[in-house]
Symmetry: C2
Subunit: 365 residues, 2 copies
């Protein structure tokens, strides 16, 4: 199923990185020159299960496409890949811009590939990427070693508008990658918003990368993110910075004591490392593998995955209910005036809401 014009993609196994091919329409599905290469859902599934990363990349493009015809095939492909999925360790990696996520992921990725073999997929959730056209993971040179590693698959964040949409596509891409034999999944997210919650709800271990600094710099962490972390790692622990890092680690460790014990029964740890100098990487992954052993033994690993699947079903329902309402042209027109009546104290929030809902459900009849 290989195609000569696609050879480029084999080099670093970076397929449709979002830079070379800004359109997310799979050329093989367009009419014209490549029409003869139109693949069926069964073709995609066969290619994916055989571990063909070109086909995998094309299937991911299909998942990300907003074209309804593409979505029909994509959903069929995902559904048929489901039985082959799940056999992986999924690690979410978050941190504020400047925490050194890319360098760290590069080091982490090489470490786990050397340590346990297998294949690594690096995905991302970044709803802002629509504006910036792939600010996160958009530049493959940011992961120098992984980008040329034969067993890695790097994919930038889908740029699909809402967080819910982006997160869903990333979650579906995880299924395809696992079906293609990727047994290590990293999901990168930028530590400045709600994307962490989305990321947290699709991974087995949520790693928060921090840097040491003044108290003010530490304030970059958003509400609740620290509490989601299964582990906190302080980057740039090298040279003059070692002491500050160890101090920050103690502060975080103390702060973590103030939170309730996570459901996993695992006490989150705080470690220092240096992504740039490759120091302490092994210890970070010792921690993650210890965690995985721990939660596989106490049953939390499977429990969390089942809860996540349910969570995404309900998230999906709730998001589509909201989208149906707020994207309805009549509602979209009425909403600003309704907001004003509430702000000016003419109507209670509840009455304003009820009027809009009555209008909506009448329109659906």
């Amino acid at each position: 199923m290989e195609h000569p014009e696609n050879n480029e993609e084999y080099k670093g196994l970076i397929v449709n990185s979002g830079i070379e091919q800004p359109s997310n329409v799979n050329p093989y599905l367009q009419r014209g020159r490549f029409a003869r290469r139109h693949l069926t859902a069964a073709d995609y599934v066969e290619g994916i299960v055989k571990g063909n990363v070109t086909i995998l990349g094309q299937a991911v493009t299909l998942v990300e496409s907003t074209n309804p015809d593409h979505q029909v095939i994509a959903q069929e492909v995902i559904e048929k890949c489901l039985p082959y999925s799940g056999n992986s360790v999924r690690v979410g990696i978050s941190g504020v811009p400047g925490a050194g996520k890319s360098t760290s992921i590069d080091e982490f990725g090489i470490h786990v590939l050397e340590r346990t073999g297998g294949k690594l997929a690096v995905l991302a959730i970044d709803p802002s990427s629509e504006k910036t056209k792939g600010s996160i993971l958009g530049d493959k040179t940011r992961m120098e070693k992984l980008s040329v590693h034969p067993d890695s698959f790097i994919r930038p964040s889908p740029s699909a508008g809402s967080l819910g949409g982006v997160a869903r596509k990333t979650r579906e891409t995880i299924i395809l990658c696992e079906a293609a034999g990727f047994d290590k999944i990293f999901v990168e997210t930028v530590g400045v918003g709600q994307s962490e919650t989305a990321c947290h709800s699709m991974v087995d271990f949520f790693l928060l990368i921090q840097v040491a600094g003044t108290g003010d710099e530490l304030q970059g962490i958003k509400r609740g993110i620290m509490e989601m972390a299964d582990g906190i790692v302080i980057n740039k622990c090298d040279g003059d910075n070692v002491e500050a890092c160890h101090l920050a680690a103690r502060q975080f460790q103390n702060a973590l004591h103030l939170f309730p014990m996570p459901e996993s029964g695992w006490t989150p740890k705080v470690l220092c490392y240096s992504g740039f100098f490759g120091l302490g990487i092994k210890e970070v992954w010792d921690m993650i593998y210890d965690y995985v052993d721990f939660v596989k033994q106490n049953g939390y690993f499977d429990h969390r995955r089942a809860e996540q699947a349910k969570y995404w079903m309900y998230e999906s329902i709730n998001e589509q209910l909201r989208n149906g309402f707020y994207n309805h042209p009549t509602i979209a027109t009425l909403l600003p005036a309704a907001e004003r009546t509430v702000l000016e104290g003419q109507k209670t929030s509840f009455v304003a809401a009820k009027h809009l809902l009555d209008t909506y459900f009448n329109l659906l009849k």
Copy 2:
């Protein structure tokens, strides 16, 4: 508009405390013996605006009623009270069971009434009260001083099922109380769940009561609650416990530094006090009044209230959208099977969600 049989209610101004009258149907609106006392919306509004607490209590009962006819009148009353509302300081008070909330609220309440005069309403949000029939504020003896104070109005949590429903009723009760001239509103909530978010989103200042103890005891705080606090106060700072309280205060103060600066521009403070011995009460309220002055000056006070009004409109919409879906008999029947297909990996979360939604919207046509 007084009624002889209602005299009981005047004693401590505790109207329908949920113990004496477990049914939330206003007797005056039932047919029969009291039918002659049927009040119109205008009657309620007149009574409320004149500060008649019996009428206020009856109107709150109406707000809490699940009877659709009562809701129609209730919404009209609230709407007409809206222009008279808003002139108050609303303080949310949260803390885990055993933190000494009741004793503290009793002391706090007497303090603010002596300090600035006016009238105090103590309300509550406790979705669990449906099961326990008023576990929170159900027992008026828990607030010995306030319950017999002529300028206080104590009302247990509405027991209306979902958190959204309970929170809405409390929010609407705030409007009625303010229209009746209550210029101080306390909203009590039990610090063990999502009710804090609801409480936080209807108050001007969110106060978290903690107790000192071992690190383990501190773990009772739920995710994100500490980050919502505008102030944290450590209770039971008396006798042998003083040192432990000051240590806990330092720990909380350090932990707060790890969070981003709140939008208010106000740095949350941590103080120690003793509700039982009445120590440090003034300092707690100095802090709260300082905060109010600060945010009234920088405009955040009005901004937060406007945001809260909008928030509740959208919460109301989203909750009713969800209720419409999940309470639909066909959906309720199909949901368990859909969950199973997701858990067993037969369908993706998204496809299972989509099937349910397609069914739902077809049924609405």
